[in-house]
């Protein structure tokens, strides 16, 4: 019988018991300062790319913490690396490195996941 496509849309609920934390652990290994983020949004407010489009650095951090790698890898391409975020961060998080690490890991994952 028809299924009303009832699993679509699937749950948007963040399921803390099942999420892909590989990217997060990678970033935390090389940039432990990320753990101190307080989501103040200072980075987003100053962001050069965010001034031109709906790019949101704070959300990048949140997605990273919730394992939303898919969303993240799309969004992170908008970053211009200008480094303003790092300069305004009240917790002195090296955000620029966080983004570099994400990019690195995503490119690695892409190659790893490619069919041989």
């Amino acid at each position: 019988m028809e299924d009303f496509s009832f699993l679509n849309p699937g749950s948007r609920q963040i399921d803390f018991d099942n999420f892909d934390d590989r990217l997060l652990l990678y970033v935390l290994e090389y940039e432990p300062s990320f753990v101190t983020c307080i989501s103040c949004g200072g980075c987003t407010a100053t962001c050069s790319a965010g001034n031109l489009t709906n790019f949101n650095v704070r959300k990048i951090g949140l997605w990273l913490r919730r394992g939303e790698t898919e969303k993240l890898s799309q969004e992170i391409e908008k970053c211009m690396f200008c480094g303003k975020c790092t300069l305004v961060c009240p917790r002195d998080i090296n955000i620029r490195n966080v983004i570099l690490l994400i990019k690195k890991r995503i490119s690695e994952l892409k190659t790893e996941n490619q069919p041989v």
């Binding site: 019988m1 299924d3 009303f4 009832f6 679509n8 849309p9 749950s11």
Partner: protein
């Protein structure tokens, strides 16, 4: 509508009238479980000796239309004012409401009138202009489950059956599902508040069963008004019901008890639909978990006939497994019989799966 308490809701006792009720029927219950309303009247009148008046003139409260946002609040108020007018005309002061949506609407309108007297005046004027009627506010507004809850012990005394397993003597495990609009909008209008409402667990325990808690107990069944009404939106409804079934599955309940006509129907039908989609049930083998309303359960323990009196054949999920566990004597042959036992055809199949496939 300030809701403020320094006492535990679960200890909250709402005032439920004792006698002389004006019955307000439910669109959905009449449609899908008409016998439940009939048996409610019988229990009150015959078993409990109460006076309850069933007025043919009252109409839908338009609550489904209201919550699907096609009926304005003013219209809802005026329609409800008319129901109250009918009630006053017959000399009644206590409402017994069959439908949870209606129950929520009545309470919302009453609360609004209390807080905004202008709204009441406007509704009164609309009613006067439209029908020449005047109305009075009821003294007591209770849902039919409130009334059954109030007399649960009397029903237990008269009961022919108890909610225990006939063979093992163990109490039957029953999960409850309280319709959202019963207590979530106005916890003070409920028995035991919205978190651990006692209205259904009280019945289960009074009649010998065991009430089982499960994580998604308070989650909505997923009706969602406009979501079920539009075919394309039904994924919302079924997904939410599924969430509940997944959550209750590990507890292996013998039955689901609801007080809301909509939830009652959905929890019954969605089990079938999910089984068709997913090829599995969340309990009760290929049949699924029987879903009963408070009137139906009360009728069962009092010994009413499951088919003729309670109309349980109109459920998709068979109730027979439950009847057998309790030890209720019934005639399987009469299940799908017409008036006076006349043969009228049978459904293609009942339960969750077609045994012929």
């Amino acid at each position: 509508m300030e809701t403020k308490t320094k006492t535990r809701w679960s200890e909250h006792n709402k005032e439920i009238a004792d006698d002389h009720f004006f019955y307000l029927r439910s669109c959905i219950r009449q449609n899908f479980n008409p016998a439940a309303e009939k048996i409610f009247l019988s229990i009150l009148q015959k078993n409990l000796g109460k006076d309850i008046y069933d007025d043919p003139r009252h109409t839908t409260c338009t609550g489904i239309g209201y919550h699907a946002d096609i009926v304005p609040f003013e219209t809802l108020q005026t329609v409800i004012a008319r129901q109250f007018s009918l009630m006053a005309e017959k000399g009644y002061k206590n409402c017994a409401v069959s439908c949870i949506t209606s129950f929520g609407c009545y309470n919302e309108v009453l609360a609004t009138w209390k807080q905004f007297p202008d709204e009441m005046a406007k509704a009164g004027e609309n009613l006067r202009k439209a029908t020449g009627r005047e109305f009075e506010m009821p003294e007591n507004l209770s849902h039919s489950c409130d009334i059954i809850y109030k007399f649960r012990k009397e029903i237990a005394r008269q009961a022919r059956y108890r909610l225990v397993h006939r063979e093992t003597g163990e109490p039957l495990k029953i999960v409850d599902h309280i319709g959202c609009h019963y207590a979530k909008i106005f916890p003070e209008k409920s028995v035991g508040g919205s978190e651990y409402s006692r209205v259904l667990t009280g019945m289960i325990e009074a009649w010998g069963g065991e009430s089982v808690d499960y994580p998604e107990r308070r989650h909505c069944c997923g009706f969602g008004f406009r979501h079920y009404l539009i075919k394309n939106n039904r994924s919302y409804s079924i997904s939410n019901s599924r969430k509940k079934f997944v959550s209750m599955e590990p507890y292996r309940p013998d039955a689901i008890l609801t007080n809301c006509p909509g939830c009652n129907m959905f929890m019954d039908r969605w089990q079938y639909t999910l089984a068709q989609i997913e090829g599995k049930t969340y309990g009760g083998g290929t049949n699924g978990i029987p879903v009963l309303s408070h009137e139906e359960l009360a009728g069962l323990v009092l010994g009413y006939d499951p088919w003729k009196d309670l109309g349980l054949q109109m459920h998709q999920v068979d109730v027979e497994p439950l009847l057998q566990k309790i030890g209720i004597v019934y005639d399987p042959a009469q299940k799908f019989a017409g008036v006076n036992g006349k043969y009228i055809n049978e459904p293609l199949f009942t339960g969750c799966f077609n045994p012929h496939n």
